[in-house]
């Protein structure tokens, strides 16, 4: 941002701002980060959470194969949309258990396809549960990079449905 500030500008909180740190920590908790490392010029913030030696303190799961969940379990707990592995990649996740439909009816076009740009209120799919067809909004803005679930596939709460590039808009 600024080239060289030992001296933060008006709105810029300094590194010792507890409220800012609290927001970082909440961010870490929300996303189960173990470390944050920030540095700009002489300013540097580094935060670490949890056990330092994770191998010993967090035993690996039992050797039997994990109970069949059709999709890989998402690692964070944000219910609908949250940032993914890279800064600009996010996922639209299923807010409920049910069956995924990419289009309003078998003869229609899909709600969205790769390359489409979605707005938060754009309907991206239908999740059917108990005979109710729930239209699912994107809840974020970005470009669809991948559709992760096939038509009529069952999805759990939290199953990633679409991969979205949020920098592309």
């Amino acid at each position: 941002m600024t080239e060289k500030t030992d001296r933060p500008g008006e709105e810029q909180p300094d590194v010792f701002d507890v409220e800012q740190l609290r927001r970082f920590v909440e961010l870490m908790e929300e996303h189960d980060l173990s470390e944050i490392n920030l540095k700009e010029g002489g300013r540097k913030i580094r935060l670490r959470r949890g056990n330092i030696l994770p191998a010993a303190s967090a035993p690996a799961p039992a050797p039997i194969p994990p109970a069949a969940s059709p999709q890989p379990a998402p690692s964070d707990s944000a219910p609908a949309a949250s940032s993914g592995d890279s800064e600009n990649i996010a996922f639209i996740k299923s807010p409920m258990v049910g069956t995924f439909y990419s289009r309003p009816n078998p003869n229609a076009e899909p709600f969205v396809k790769v390359g489409d740009v979605v707005e938060p209120e754009t309907t991206v799919c239908i999740i059917e549960a108990m005979k109710v067809f729930n239209e699912i909004p994107a809840e974020l803005r970005g470009k669809i990079v991948a559709v992760l679930v096939k038509d009529e596939e069952p999805v759990e709460f939290g199953t990633p449905l679409f991969k979205v590039d949020t920098s592309a808009v």
Binding site: P79, M96, V97, G98, M130, F157
Partner: protein
């Protein structure tokens, strides 16, 4: 028999049901909230489906999500366990409308027995004793006296709109009755805007005795004898046992027969518990029916040798009960201690957190039903029970010795538990002699006011 069922619960009871299903060769679908994602018991299920965020209201209590999981899991039946949706007649109805068997009573029987007044009426019809009292409201002293003389002192005057002890008075004789009546009416009026009160017999130092019932869909009802659950704190059961100590055989038989009569009258099916209070002269009074499996079911399993969860599933699938009443005999004595992640020093405040280390008790006569392990984190969202320690020995005295050594073995590090408090209770002479009442724990141990 079912091929695949869904378990609409979590923790030890979910594991308990998975165990029964594995032994029966039935596949299981487990559901879990995000807070339970890492629980090891999920790995023992054939499929595990995340149904929502940690809060129960958004996950384990969310009927639409549970049903949707049953649909994508392609199950024939749902076992609700205890708590959560287990006594929710609406959920029971929804299961039926979706053509999924609910492993429990019908919605109608559940609703009937869930209404305390209707259950009480039903008990009267089935000639099951209920706590004697006025049939309706009592307004004048003369009527109050007549009723009190009829049912015998001491009597309890209770506000019809009441709760929390407000508008409640005990009267031991004619003189105090007049005062108590007026006071209760004034207090009730002030507290609830309704001065209506009624009178019932005050049962002093009652014991809590309950009868385990199993009923199939072919008209067969058996009981698995009784449990004594008098060791309570704030109406929470701490220790349960079977048989009830010092209960005369004749009374035991009468209580169990009464429970069967009531359940037959209600057209009840599957497992259930009929709860009674028993006074110092061994008169017993019906209180309510729990239309589900209960936390303390293992003590009945141990003394009868019958696996109640398996029986629930078999009965729900339409099988006939394989036992006649005469086949069901009590052998030895069984005791259960509920091990809670609570701090007895801090008024039993729940103490969720990480279990750094655990040594699980074992050996002759010991059963530990628990889903926890070293490294498991007890989430703060649900009840604090982390396991049930159960013993079964030839005599009650041996069962107490066995429980004491098993409690000493149960080493849990990282969070406080109630294990040590249980040891104090089990070593108390009143408990050892048998026949304590439901007020024993609170009279004997002083707790900080929470």
């Amino acid at each position: 028999m079912y091929k695949r069922i869904l378990i609409a619960n979590r923790g030890e009871i979910a594991l308990r049901i998975i165990r029964a299903c594995r032994e029966l060769g039935i596949e299981t679908v487990a559901i879990y909230s995000e807070a339970d994602r890492d629980a090891l018991y999920l790995r023992l299920a054939d499929q595990a489906i995340c149904i929502g965020p940690p809060k129960s209201i958004q996950s384990y209590l969310k009927i639409a999500h549970v049903i949707a999981a049953a649909e994508i899991g392609n199950v024939e039946a749902i076992h609700p366990g205890y708590g959560f949706l287990a006594e929710n007649a609406h959920f029971n109805e929804v299961c039926r409308s979706c053509q999924i068997d609910f492993i429990g009573p019908t919605p109608e029987a559940m609703e009937l027995l869930g209404d305390k007044n209707r259950a009480r009426d039903l008990a009267r019809e089935a000639k099951v004793p209920v706590v004697p009292g006025s049939d309706g409201l009592v307004s004048d002293e003369k009527e109050a006296l007549r009723i009190a003389h009829e049912i015998g002192f001491p009597v309890l005057i209770k506000a019809t709109a009441g709760g929390g002890g407000k508008g409640m008075r005990i009267a031991a004789n004619d003189l105090s009755l007049a005062t108590a009546l007026t006071q209760a009416q004034i207090e009730a009026k002030a507290a609830f805007g309704n001065e209506g009160v009624y009178i019932e017999k005050f049962i002093e130092r009652p014991r809590h005795v309950e009868v385990q019932i199993l009923a199939d869909h072919h008209g067969n009802v058996v009981h698995l004898w009784e449990r004594d659950c008098s060791t309570q704190r704030r109406h929470q059961k701490l220790i349960e046992e079977s048989p009830a100590p010092n209960l005369p055989d004749k009374v035991r038989q009468q209580i169990c027969d009464a429970a069967v009569r009531l359940v037959k009258k209600a057209g009840y099916t599957n497992a259930g518990t009929v709860e009674f209070i028993v006074d110092r002269e061994n008169h017993f009074y019906f209180i309510e029916v729990n239309a589900r499996i209960q936390v303390e079911h293992p003590v009945s399993e141990m003394v009868t040798g019958i696996d109640l969860i398996k029986a629930q599933i078999q009965v729900a699938a339409g099988e006939t009960l394989p036992w006649k009443q005469r086949d069901i005999r009590v052998q030895g004595a069984s005791i259960e201690c509920r091990i809670n992640a609570e701090n007895p020093q801090k008024n039993f405040q729940p103490a969720p957190g990480r279990i750094d280390q655990i040594f699980v008790p074992g050996g002759m006569g010991v059963r530990f039903d628990s889903h926890v392990y070293a490294g498991y984190t007890v989430p703060p969202y649900y009840d604090s029970m982390i396991g049930k320690l159960i013993v079964h020995r030839p005599t009650r005295q041996e069962a107490i010795s066995c429980m004491l050594r098993a409690l000493a073995e149960l080493q849990i590090e990282g969070i406080p538990t109630t294990a040590d408090f249980h040891r104090q209770v089990l070593e108390h002479s009143d408990f050892v002699e048998g026949g304590i009442d439901t007020g024993f724990v609170e009279r004997t141990w002083k707790f900080d006011k929470g």
